[in-house]
């Protein structure tokens, strides 16, 4: 088994897709009325949105927040698997250490059940409201329709796909000329290394930013919240989960240990509120961790380009790119 295969065996990808309805709809009628009422000059754009579910719009937003919570938790507890560069969109599949997959799936199932419970509780109210009041609460807004309850319910979905292994190129399975196969393997390897390094970088930067927040909040924050400690533990876990299956970077593992020992081990935020000793120790640990992670984040990447030897076969970039994609 090569290095790429062994690293890939340590992680899985979990695809997830979430659908929900946006109850706020643009209304030209309301926009015109608002522009007129506010005496807005003709060339100033005014765009007004109206709650299409009438007086139950706020209730649907509560349901939406339950659906959003699934993605929020998922993004907080997993890492991106993408070769997007700095500043580019990093949505898409998320990477999870193999040993954490059951835990992540269980939590997602729990959150999914919560979300659909909220929707199921809402829908009877909406069906009754829709049949009794349909549009009546929308006043003169004639260009926004109240959605049919079945259509509305159909827009809600949470699909948690089966965990997938990381894509690994197996040169033996393709009957390609040796040189071309080696080139494809190298490109594939480079891309995987970039994606894994991106995940490590995301874990480091997330932990670094949170440690900076912890240091600042504990130094001069007025209201300390338990999430400071809980998120410290979460970031330490993400760091460890990412690094232990990838490059075993001792520097990052030591920082994860430091966070767990000095911050994550504090069971209750009250202990830092009222105990100057623990607070000072946590501040020092957060400062050290933030500084160390910042240095590692800016240092050269440990993504290992140890790949199959470059081929002497000349092949067009577009052909290789097509094959890879």
């Amino acid at each position: 088994m090569n290095m790429q295969q062994s690293i890939a065996n340590n992680y899985m990808l979990i695809p997830i897709s979430i659908g929900r309805a946006d109850p706020m709809k643009h209304s030209a009628v309301a926009s015109d009325a608002a522009a007129s009422e506010c005496k807005v000059s003709g060339n100033v754009p005014v765009r007004t949105r109206v709650g299409s579910l009438g007086s139950l719009t706020a209730d649907l937003k509560q349901v939406n927040s339950k659906f959003a919570a699934v993605r929020t938790w998922f993004y907080d507890n997993t890492l991106p698997f993408t070769d997007a560069e700095e500043g580019q969109q990093k949505r898409g599949k998320r990477i999870v250490p193999v040993n954490k997959v059951p835990e992540v799936l269980a939590k997602l199932a729990e959150l999914k059940a919560d979300a659909f419970s909220a929707l199921d509780a809402f829908m009877p109210d909406y069906r009754a409201y829709h049949s009794a009041r349909n549009r009546a609460d929308l006043g003169r807004v004639s260009d926004v329709d109240m959605p049919d309850p079945d259509v509305l319910a159909g827009k809600y979905r949470i699909t948690i796909g089966a965990p997938e292994p990381l894509p690994v190129f197996d040169v033996d399975k393709l009957a390609l000329p040796a040189g071309l196969a080696a080139d494809i393997a190298k490109r594939h390897h480079d891309r995987l290394a970039k994606q894994l390094d991106g995940a490590k970088q995301a874990a480091i930067e997330g932990a670094r930013d949170h440690m900076a927040t912890v240091e600042k909040q504990l130094t001069d924050g007025k209201r300390l919240h338990q999430s400071l400690l809980d998120n410290a533990k979460r970031h330490a876990s993400l760091l460890r989960g990412m690094v232990e299956g990838y490059d075993n970077d001792p520097r990052v593992l030591e920082v994860a240990d430091l966070i767990d020992e000095r911050i994550g081990s504090i069971p209750n935020i009250d202990q830092v509120k009222y105990n100057a000793t623990r607070r000072n120790q946590a501040i020092r640990a957060a400062g050290t961790a933030s500084k160390a992670l910042d240095a590692v984040a800016k240092a050269p990447s440990t993504a290992t380009p140890a790949a199959p030897a470059a081929s002497n076969v000349v092949a067009g970039d577009s052909l290789l790119a097509d094959l890879l994609d």
Binding site: D247, V252, T277, R278, A299
Partner: protein, 381 residues
């Protein structure tokens, strides 16, 4: 609940803040025997208090009170029968001798000072109770007698597991003090030892083998001497007496000297020290490695390579010396490279001067699959 653990370096930082706080809670250090708890209070805490006050250290009074072998009545004052003005018999308590001693020092010109209650953990519950009000920052009285305003309190004690007769400290005492469990910091001890004339061979050995169990981290189950900073300091005195004599050939400790040293630090540590002295001149020092990591001598023997690298790792204090240590480590045997490089990289992150050079990155790339083995084998920091 476990005590808050700390080390000498952290104590220095915390003490400054604590001294500036409006609550003058006593500093309390508990920990294994012989790890310089009392010494820190006597010297460093006194210096820091002087620094806080803006006066010189010798202007800060210091009174050390050992309470392990005292009764509560000796501390609180003794009840004496008296005849009242109306002829009835009453009771009067004598002024506690410690209060008298503190005020005498105060009146002699030491308006500020530190009263160290030593071996407090060994005191019985009744004695501990007597001190409760004196430790309370809002009370600061002993048996009802106020102590001088400029005098602050500190106490030391062993853990109950240290087989020194220490008791559990009463919970209401814990709430009135800043109690820390002092963990041994070999580097801080080495700095202190170098400044205080401790034999350099003993210091060098302690630094080289600090992570290999040279110092005892708890009291051994079997009776007999064991190595602590204090006992090593005593053994180093014996060593100096021998090395200064004409009997020392520069390399070998005779068996009677090893036995003499073992009576202070135990046979295992004495053996390590003896072997260390025998090999000392074959191994480059940390300073030599830092000065020329690519050219410093790499001994043939694995043990000597380990010693040289440990010297460098323990001596590294910033990114420059850390990088030099890593550059030296990658010249050693491959198995040592993995374990020692991992140890150094972890230490660098822990101390805030994390190594990020191309050499460090290349090291992680090359050995990424072996690094967990080094950690699992306990060879990390």
């Amino acid at each position: 609940m476990a005590h808050v653990k700390t080390n000498i370096a952290e104590l220095d930082q915390m003490a400054r803040t604590a001294l500036a706080s409006q609550y003058r809670k006593p500093f309390a250090l508990i920990g294994m025997v012989g790890i310089a708890k009392t010494q820190w209070i006597k010297s460093r805490y006194r210096e820091l208090y002087a620094e806080h006050l803006g006066i010189s250290t010798d202007q800060v009074g210091f009174i050390q009170t050992r309470v392990a072998n005292r009764d509560a009545a000796e501390i609180a004052g003794v009840a004496l029968p008296i005849k009242n003005d109306d002829g009835s018999v009453g009771t009067q308590f004598t002024k506690p001798p410690l209060v008298a001693e503190l005020w005498a020092a105060h009146d002699a010109g030491f308006t500020h000072g530190i009263n160290l209650i030593d071996e407090f953990g060994q005191a019985g519950g009744d004695v501990q109770k007597v001190f409760a009000d004196m430790f309370d920052p809002d009370e600061r009285t002993l048996a009802g007698w106020a102590i001088p305003d400029g005098w602050i309190i500190a106490w030391t004690g062993n853990r109950t597991a240290d087989k020194s007769g220490a008791n559990r400290v009463l919970s209401h005492i814990m709430g009135r003090c800043r109690v820390f469990e002092l963990e041994f910091d070999a580097k801080a001890w080495a700095d202190w030892a170098a400044d205080n004339g401790v034999n350099p061979l003993a210091i060098d050995c302690a630094m080289a083998y600090a992570d290999d169990g040279f110092f005892a981290d708890c009291v051994p189950t079997e009776d007999g001497p064991f190595c602590t900073p204090r006992s090593l300091t005593h053994a180093a005195g014996d060593l100096t007496a021998f090395t200064d004599s004409g009997d020392f050939d520069g390399v070998t400790l005779p068996s009677y000297m090893e036995t003499l040293i073992a009576s202070s630090i135990g046979a295992r540590a004495a053996g390590m020290l003896s072997r260390h002295i025998a090999m000392a001149d074959q191994v480059p020092t940390a300073a030599e490695i830092f000065a020329d990591p690519a050219g410093a001598k790499v001994p043939d023997s694995t043990g000597y390579q380990l010693l040289a690298a440990n010297r460098a790792i323990n001596g590294a204090a910033d990114a420059d010396t850390g990088e030099a240590a890593l550059a030296y480590i990658i010249r050693l045997r491959p198995d040592l490279q993995v374990s020692l490089g991992s140890k150094l990289l972890r230490a660098s992150a822990r101390h805030g001067w994390v190594l990020t050079s191309n050499v460090a990155v290349a090291f992680i790339q090359k050995f990424h699959d072996l690094l967990p083995l080094a950690q699992d084998a306990g060879m990390g920091v």
